[in-house]
């Protein structure tokens, strides 16, 4: 197809074509200090929304042979303040509250009456490193049944002995690999790894694997997403 034109008209055509690209300038909004934070927050929220859509309750995280385990001594100990918050292991209980039929204090022995599951799964840190560990404990889903959690509830929040706090969406909490973990490498949890009880959620990023649990709350709305989430990390971060 051919076009006959003169230099003046051709300039006008070019200007019009250039102006069509003006929507690209909209990205400049990210450079405006006042808009940057809300825009990035929206972007992260969209990623979380997509993550929740991608989550499949029946899809298991890869599991590994014992030969592929990272040696226990090389399983990193990550705490945000102290490695050992000095939990009184003899008198420890997990305080359950919120949308449950049987709130109250649960001992480790009570939790250990639930069927025990062991799994070799990958622990992925948000920093980028990963290790394969062996975890043992009760299914969170079984515990939710034990405490009579409201089936319509949407979130679980946990409080830790070191002031750390975390949350899980209910679909993830009920995933068959989501454990209330009291063993690593077939031994009771050491203090640095969160004795006496921690989360082991192979479908979630590392900072969701809260240690030294003291409280567990079942709720319909998310009151506190988590310590790192409050600093700007993703609320959902499913793997």
């Amino acid at each position: 197809m051919n076009l006959r034109t003169d230099s003046r008209q051709f300039k006008r055509i070019n200007r019009r074509e250039l102006l069509k690209l003006s929507p690209v300038l909209a990205l400049g909004a990210f450079a405006v200090p006042r808009l940057q934070k809300p825009l990035l927050k929206t972007g992260l929220a969209f990623s979380d929304w997509a993550s929740a859509r991608l989550f499949r309750s029946g899809h298991l995280a890869p599991t590994f042979d014992d030969s592929e385990l990272t040696p226990f001594a090389r399983f990193p100990i990550n705490g945000y303040d102290v490695d050992d918050p000095g939990v009184d292991l003899d008198n420890w209980t997990l305080t359950v509250s919120g949308a449950v039929q049987k709130p109250g204090d649960y001992t480790l022995a009570q939790i250990q009456t639930l069927p025990k599951f062991r799994q070799n799964t990958r622990h992925v840190c948000i920093e980028g490193w990963d290790v394969i560990g062996r975890f043992g404990g009760a299914r969170l889903a079984d515990f939710l049944q034990m405490i009579g959690a409201d089936p319509a509830a949407r979130f679980i929040t946990v409080q830790c002995a070191d002031d750390y706090y975390e949350s899980l969406d209910m679909a993830t909490a009920r995933h068959p690999q989501s454990l209330l973990c009291y063993e690593m490498y077939d031994q009771p949890l050491t203090r640095e790894h969160g004795a006496p009880l921690r989360l082991n959620i192979p479908t979630k990023i590392g900072y969701k694997q809260a240690k030294y649990l003291t409280d567990l709350k079942v709720s319909h709305v998310l009151e506190k997403a988590g310590y790192w989430e409050d600093q700007g990390y993703s609320e959902f971060y499913g793997l």
């Binding site: 051919n2 006959r4 003046r8 051709f10 690209l21 929206t42 972007g43 993550s51 990272t70 948000i126």
Partner: protein, 229 residues
């Protein structure tokens, strides 16, 4: 696709020059949005990399390189991730729009490197790097250009796939498995970034060498006085 050609009469001198409409609007739009998204992804990605600048074990940790904080976006790991997880959607969005447009408009014939282009690669390399004679150019893109742009598109797709594998190593476990697991996928993602940066370097050098008219064609679509008419 038939190429649109303009014959332009200079209003002062009456001289006639020619121009070709090389880049349709969607292509130009995707080019610039994607270019900005790519820059954000590179510098926020390097921020994320700074948190664990290694591809080995965590204990003991051997760092590969220390990327300076001043050349990373987001201020800290969380900030870098916010930029990365926001702009990846823009990057994927423009990528998909571009690919869809190229296929349905049949504009891909201008870019896609085909077996028949293989013959023409060496003469172009000979010309660019060893001062050989300039081969006769018949199309908007010479065979070497087609090879470069097709590679860039493939790298773009790989950057998304390797990225998905490290963002979702459980939901896309098959993707991570294809790359040798999460650990390796992270290394591939990093390697693909450097390959894209290598393309970008060559691309920018060629843009500078080919002058203003060539650069303007990616803004207005029209290339004045093309050498191949």
């Amino acid at each position: 696709m038939s190429t649109q050609i303009a014959a332009i009469t200079n209003v002062k001198t009456g001289a006639i020059s020619e121009a070709v409409y090389e880049h349709p609007f969607i292509v130009r739009l995707c080019h610039w949005v994607n270019a900005l998204a790519l820059l954000v992804l590179v510098f926020s990605g390097l921020q994320i990399f700074r948190a664990f600048p290694s591809f080995g074990a965590k204990i003991p940790q051997k760092d590969l390189l220390h990327w300076p904080k001043a050349y990373a976006l987001g201020g800290w790991l969380g900030g870098g991730l916010q930029w990365h997880l926001t702009f990846m959607w823009i990057y994927i969005g423009t990528g998909l729009l571009y690919l869809t447009y190229e296929i349905f408009s049949r504009n891909y014939k201008q870019v896609l490197f085909m077996p028949r282009d293989i013959r023409g690669v060496w003469p172009m390399v000979h010309h660019y790097f060893f001062f050989g004679p300039k081969p006769y150019v018949r199309e908007a893109y010479n065979p070497l250009q087609k090879l470069a742009y097709t590679s860039a598109i493939v790298l773009g797709i790989l950057s998304v796939l390797t990225g998905l594998a490290i963002w979702k190593p459980v939901q896309f476990s098959w993707l991570a498995w294809l790359m040798g697991g999460f650990h390796w996928a992270r290394l591939w993602h990093f390697a693909v970034m450097w390959a894209i940066l290598a393309f970008l370097f060559g691309h920018l050098v060629m843009v500078v060498l080919h002058g203003w008219n060539n650069f303007v064609s990616m803004l207005t679509g029209w290339k004045k006085d093309p050498e191949y008419l």
